[in-house]
Chain length 284, copies 4
């Protein structure tokens, strides 16, 4: 596999953006492997994602972002540059249920995504053993109403000290404070066990059972300060029926949760997700 540069861009729409960007890459000897672009005409927003081979590119990789800065400033672009051999450091937060955590660890092991799982954080100690088995540092931060502010501050400090670029909430059953969320904007992915916006909040499977729905779902989304209301990355559903108890919903739902969270994390790590208002554009 050759090394590939990945550039994502969002900015106000104007004429010639594709030409400007592609000209920059082409003039410097790059060749696009992928070029995806979307314009929201109503909102006047331009969004794009591209990949090109680094080999033969005339700007050294560490200077590409700087060189692109001129165009970016001129066009008011937010952009993000990454490389296929980057190994971002991520932290996984879990509580008592280990299935999503374990699933991510096994997928990482199977090479389904590229990341250094640098920390496993929990408000309980149940998953400490799993962390140990996979050789990953485990941090136990019990949370009470009294210590929450303090504990979160310590967590933020530890996450920053470890250079964590993405936090994955793998069925972490604590609501993060606004301050915590603000420290990692669009850098926290949560799995919610319902097809949002149905069944926001606690015990969505119980809610679904009570309502008698014929489908249950799971939603992978970025965490914002508003509960279960951040930009949605991925959703999936499965059929249920009258023979399914709440326990069956929970069991069936675990499969959804694992798959949906893994897809959302993978898409994020491949720089395929751009946020935009309270929505995502997923260039898959």
């Amino acid at each position: 596999m050759k090394e590939v540069a990945k550039l994502t861009i969002s900015c106000p729409d104007r004429k010639g953006l594709v030409a400007r960007i592609s000209d920059f890459v082409f003039r410097n000897g790059g060749n696009f492997l992928h070029f995806d672009q979307h314009t929201d005409l109503e909102a006047g927003v331009f969004l794009a994602r591209m990949e090109w081979e680094v080999e033969g590119f005339q700007i050294p990789r560490e200077r590409i972002a700087d060189c692109f800065q001129g165009i970016a400033l001129e066009c008011g672009m937010r952009f993000d540059l990454a490389f296929s051999d980057d190994v971002p450091r991520i932290a996984i937060f879990a509580s008592r249920m280990p299935h999503c955590l374990l699933d991510l660890l096994l997928r990482r092991q199977a090479g389904e995504f590229k990341a250094d799982i640098a920390l496993i954080v929990s408000n309980h100690s149940d998953v400490a053993e799993i962390a140990e088995r996979f050789g990953i540092p485990f941090r136990h931060y019990p949370i009470t109403p009294e210590n929450k502010t303090q504990q979160e501050a310590a967590e933020i400090e530890e996450l920053k000290a470890n250079g964590i670029e993405l936090i994955v909430l793998a069925r972490y059953m604590q609501i993060l404070s606004e301050a915590f969320v603000a420290s990692f904007p669009n850098r926290i992915i949560n799995i919610h066990h319902s097809f949002l916006p149905a069944f926001i909040g606690a015990q969505p499977y119980h809610q679904a059972f009570e309502r008698g729905v014929k489908l249950i779902g799971a939603t992978g989304h970025y965490v914002t300060s508003e509960l279960d209301n951040g930009p949605i990355i991925e959703q999936e559903i499965i059929r249920v029926g009258h023979r399914d108890s709440v326990e069956d919903l929970i069991r069936k739902g675990r499969d959804l949760e694992k798959v949906v969270l893994a897809r959302a994390v993978r898409l994020h790590l491949m720089h395929k997700v751009l946020t935009y208002g309270n929505k995502t554009v997923v260039f898959d």
Copy 2:
């Protein structure tokens, strides 16, 4: 196709219900083609649906219900007896959008379900032409806040006079009053254009677009006095993405609405849906 009797039963659970029922059918020379049963242990409710061939059954079909009454009373059963050659009379309510109405008419024509579509009712006159083409009486009941009570009373009278057993709201954009709903308990099926309970009320596709969901849905349900909160019969979803405008959601959703409403109506007409609290049991 031989004539078949269909019996659905719900009652408090107790020992020997299956034996009592099957003994009744067997002693009278019947042979089960289908026997479906479900017990909700928590709620203590027994639900069953069965079919047997009428030919050779020793009780004449018009007397079967009477003969079963004894067991039913003893066990506190609600039961419903129907026959495969019954042709129930139904009314379809529509407003301006004709796709669900047309779809039901074409499915009826293709023999997908058995019913006499005896009336098409609308608060607008747009679908009058469709009614005429299919040779079905059309009734125009314009609704205003002022005339609603009066118009609904007239509708109820006409529906009763026509022996209507099921009302299908095929994208009928008026909320029925509590009095109207009470006149046809579990006899009104609505199609709501979202995966309920998400996006209750008006313009669910616009709500879905705003929220940035990755799936949109449709829900076929019985109408109760609480808006979009009746027992759900069937749900289905389809994937959407950032390139889909509200118009695309509406277009994709039409396919869901047609299919989900048709399935719900067909299941009801085949006596495969039992209601139970605010839920359904679908013996499919």
Copy 3:
């Protein structure tokens, strides 16, 4: 809705293709609304699709293709240029079953795709009435082993005389000859009632029933000289069970056939499908 130009391109991969193309559009005052690109590295094939607003573009629309010819020749491109206000002429072929034909006619009426359905062709006369109701010329070409060559020649002549750009086989139950297919390369879309390559040939629902599958499907594909083996545009499935008879499979399958064929036709008409070997790239 503003007028939009749609350009699709496929060619051997080489450096700078995106830059060349986007420069052409930008220099002439165009602004991309969409730009989708895919490179198959293994096969060394570059594929792209783009849209830009015609208004303000400095080359008159009738001369754009000529002006682009230089780049195309230089890079060995196959390209196709279309405009959002084009109304391509299409012919629908049907046999006895009307559901796909009717579905396309109703979708056309609802504005789901833009095309002039200029001819309805059949080897039977069953759908003549539908053609008449929608005011579309109907051509009856009965096919026997003896007259097939002659009839197809007459069909081709009539299709060419009518400027037909796309032929849709809406459950047309005749196999087209190699000569016929060669006259409309990648211009004939068929709906096959199975998830190809399972159940090629006749009576796929019966085959599916015999095999006891738990899913049935439908496939929209371009017709090539090899039966049911052309490039696949779209596929969809639905769940079936032991209670489903062959008739149930046929009934459930009709919904799939309608939806899948409509999607395939719409994608083709929007110039979102590029063929490539025996595959398609669908820029949706």
Copy 4:
């Protein structure tokens, strides 16, 4: 959870079967929790599954089968009686890829199904470590064309000696001989990585990639002497597109394989699958 008896029955259809069976249960003080029945009128086959609480049943559990034998013989029934607290002994066969094996072990650990995974068998030694971690005896049976008959004989002996009731082929990449299969009729479940009958045999993902399908699938089925042609228990699909390489198909397929195999195994262990010709009836 109370102890429950599970009885599955298949036999030639005749009058009064439901009455006979339910009378047997009722007379002995049983109360049905579930009663599912299906008659294939064409084939003249009656199939049923029922559950009742053991507590209060007047026949001791070890004598129920004997007591039922009379009815069974009279009606030509094949029947199977099991209890909710049974813990059947199963063996999992794997080769090099561990994902299905690991998935089953984790689901077992999470209590998703009840079984004693008594042996892990492989033609390679890659998964020995996993077996060890979960504390399950591992048997390494390398297979060559020369030793296959001998090795299989040894395997059969070991499986029988261990009282194995179900063999699960969790991506086991060896074709079992007819003799082996005949030793465990309808007791071997395989996961095939395609939506059968498409892509029988080797490398189905490569075949799917070459064919350019838009959906890939997985099939859980009983193994018979005819390759990939045994009764299908469960199937599922996922959407793929032109950006998916063979590696992406393999990755996406792993999720299907895990889920479909787990569902098939669970349904079998809950005695919800009846075979019938080359088909299954799944009373779910």
